[in-house]
């Protein structure tokens, strides 16, 4: 129940801020001191996500920076994931953005760039090659818009992983799936025992999207994966339609837990289904490991959690080593901040973000920071199996696709998520899905 209490606290924190932001709207610009998310003298403001385990690490990094730089402190404010997505857009639109903007890069970042709301960091990275070189090169893709870097890649690499509950596999006497065909064979076996084959927090919609992403990646490879994001008409490609059909077939075969459309991922209820033995498998981000460690009691320590990369699909042309997810998280600097605030933010990026101390904290929670040269630290961790698995995926994948809803601009992303939830509800056909998407992609 800690999550829901946190949620209430976040609301309490959010309310006065909204009030201040509204009050500041009419009378003062973003440069006025102390208003909402605006500036704080020569320090800087920073909004980021709440919830375990990331919240504590982000806060610790801010605190370390503040004790090292008492004159240019950073004031952090936390928000719950889905609430943050709305809040940050509104704040930026109202000219009340924090100095440091936490984000996912990709299409969202592009919309900030097009509105001239974030700083171009290309030359700064040129002058601070050491900062650039200590990060995964693959993480810069989603930070780059039209050849210029607009964000500092930060935190962890987060591929989507297929998790499974080993105890439940033992219970029905089955082996972990080697191919997607194996998965389809497992579905009726688990259902017969009253165990849901897959857990899914379907109300959040991006959770459903992960399934489509892997079908496309395995069926048509990264080439198809990219085409449906950019090329007009690509969703009607026969391979694309096959991926959509496979999704509906899995729903019809009762592949997902009963009531999946009403489960939200923000409450971590989908993960509880896995570690409490109500669902056998789950497709989820690599961050889920840390949540299962902290919420799942003895589940992970007892070795009951299994994981793998999404298996190959029969007849698919995609490389089974490819993956999708978040190549990193991204910190941008508001172009509306004062010169002193921007300086503080850059100093924060240089000295505090992914410092050795922060790296250690991420590793301790079972995540792989996007820092290079952490292999020995990963190997020393109690979670070294999972960490090496994630590090291996991130370094071996020829193509690390960015999650579709983050890669697209927000308007197209909303259409995508909307249609995906209808696809999973079986209320539209694969062909209707393709037609709806073709209208918004590649215009």
């Amino acid at each position: 129940m800690t999550t829901s209490r946190r949620t209430f606290l976040k609301f309490a924190v959010g309310v006065p801020l909204t009030g201040a932001a509204l009050a500041a709207c009419g009378s003062s610009g973003p440069s006025s001191a102390g208003s909402g998310g605006g500036s704080t003298g020569s320090g800087a403001s920073y909004w980021y996500l709440s919830g375990p385990p990331g919240e504590k690490i982000r806060t610790d990094t801010v605190n370390r920076f503040n004790s090292a730089n008492p004159n240019t402190k950073i004031k952090g404010t936390t928000f719950q994931n889905d609430a943050y997505k709305t809040k940050i857009k509104t704040a930026i639109g109202a000219g009340q953005s924090p100095t440091i903007i936490w984000g996912w890069g990709g299409g969202g970042l592009r919309s900030y760039v097009q509105a001239n709301q974030v700083e171009d960091l290309t030359s700064w990275f040129g002058q601070n090659a050491a900062v650039k070189n200590r990060l995964f090169p693959s993480s810069f893709g989603a930070a780059t818009v039209d050849g210029k870097i607009y964000a500092m890649p930060a935190e962890t690499v987060q591929p989507i992983v297929l998790y499974y509950n080993k105890k439940l596999f033992d219970q029905i006497g089955a082996q972990p799936p080697q191919t997607y065909g194996d998965i389809l064979d497992l579905v009726p076996k688990f259902n017969a025992k009253g165990i849901a084959p897959f857990s899914l927090g379907g109300q959040s919609r991006w959770t459903n999207m992960m399934w489509l992403e892997f079908f496309y990646l395995r069926l048509g490879g990264s080439e198809l994966f990219q085409r449906v994001m950019t090329e007009k008409g690509a969703w009607s490609d026969p391979v694309s339609l096959k991926g959509l059909q496979m999704t509906q077939d899995l729903v019809k075969a009762n592949g997902f837990v009963k009531g999946f459309s009403s489960i939200t991922a923000d409450s971590n209820a989908d993960q509880a289904l896995l570690y409490r033995g109500k669902a056998a498998m789950m497709l989820h981000g690599s961050w889920s490991y840390g949540i299962q460690v902290s919420n799942g009691g003895k589940f992970v320590p007892d070795g009951d959690l299994g994981w793998m990369n999404f298996p190959s699909v029969d007849g698919g042309t995609g490389d089974p080593a490819d993956t999708v997810g978040n190549p990193g998280q991204y910190l941008s600097i508001s172009s509306k901040a004062t010169a002193a605030e921007k300086e503080t933010a850059k100093n924060f990026f240089k000295t505090a973000v992914l410092s050795p101390e922060e790296n250690k904290e991420w590793i301790d929670t079972g995540q792989v920071p996007i820092s290079t040269g952490t292999e020995s630290q990963l190997n020393a961790s109690k979670d070294k199996d999972f960490l090496n698995f994630v590090y291996g995926i991130a370094s071996k994948a020829k193509n690390f696709g960015q999650s579709w809803d983050q890669a697209l601009d927000p308007t197209a992303a909303e259409t995508l998520l909307d249609n995906i939830s209808k696809l999973f509800q079986l209320s539209i056909s694969p062909q209707q899905f393709a037609d709806n998407m073709n209208k918004v992609i590649g215009q």
């Binding site: 997505k85 857009k89 509104t90 009963k258 009531g259 209820a269 601009d409 909303e414």
Partner: protein, 280 residues
């Protein structure tokens, strides 16, 4: 006393309304500059197949929740209008749901209705393990039930007050004429409550246009778009899809639907100045 009220109405009613109207003639992604674009946003909104669906869901929830709430509130109100002490106690108990915030109610019901961890698992009652919020029709039904659960107390209170306004002499006369309780209800109570019913119905109907928080927390408009009422459609367009122009157009449509309904109900009520107790 008129001037302050007028100023507040201007500041918080008229000016934002004009702002939304203005925004509906622009394209704005909510982040960058605002570009005037004539009727583009309106055309996009009016040709969007999501709009008729949202209107349908809005009116469906409005009509069904009215049809469910009105008889329930009326009967409860009549029952509570008695002067016995136990009824006063019951009235307080019935009133509790209205004191809770819609968000809290939604979170609670969401937890109770969870097919895996909710009431069904807690009580071990298999029947309760339906996919309450995951199937379109069922989710609409759940929304109507929770809305009714929340607002029936308020409307019962209105009816209770209405019933207590009816002169006791009318019932005494009816009793002398040998009319039973049922006869009294249909011949005296119901006709005398005409304006109360209209007031209560207006509040229900116009109020149902503003259902947002409950639905958003409970289903987020889902599953798919089964419970996506106009207000939710507006929020999704504006704050998730970054389309403030079409979102503002939906806001304007909402205002006109609300005004239209309020005027219509006034019409149905006839001339409110005629005496309710005429002929008594």
């Amino acid at each position: 006393m008129v001037l302050p009220a007028l100023l507040i109405f201007l500041a918080f009613g008229v000016i934002p309304l004009l702002g939304a109207l203005g925004l509906s003639f622009t394209t704005w992604d909510g982040i960058g500059a605002i570009h005037p674009s004539g009727l583009t946003s309106w055309r996009a909104t009016l040709t969007d197949p999501g709009l008729p669906h949202a209107l349908y869901v809005t009116f469906l929830i409005m009509a069904l929740s009215w049809a469910f709430q009105t008889p329930m509130s009326l009967l409860l109100g009549v029952f509570l209008a008695g002067r016995q002490r136990y009824r006063a106690v019951l009235a307080v108990v019935y009133f509790v749901p209205l004191l809770l915030s819609s968000a809290a109610i939604a979170i609670t019901y969401k937890a109770l209705l969870d097919p895996n961890f909710g009431l069904s698992a807690g009580l071990g009652v298999g029947f309760l393990a339906q996919d309450w919020l995951g199937r379109g029709r069922l989710a609409v039904g759940v929304v109507i039930f929770i809305v009714s659960w929340q607002y029936i107390p308020f409307h019962s209170l209105i009816y209770q007050a209405g019933v207590r306004q009816i002169p006791v002499s009318m019932y005494e006369a009816a009793q002398l004429d040998g009319a039973g309780r049922v006869r009294q209800f249909f011949s005296i109570t119901l006709p005398q409550l005409k304006y109360t019913i209209i007031t209560s119905s207006t509040l229900m109907v116009v109020g149902s246009l503003t259902f947002f928080d409950l639905i958003w927390v409970l289903t987020a408009g889902g599953p798919a778009d089964a419970t996506r009422v106009l207000a939710v459609q507006m929020y999704i367009k504006g704050f998730q899809g970054n389309q403030m122009g079409p979102a503002s157009a939906i806001a304007v449509i909402l205002v006109f639907v609300g005004l239209g309904l309020a005027l219509l109900l006034r019409r149905l009520g006839g001339d409110a100045r005629e005496s309710q107790t005429e002929g008594a």
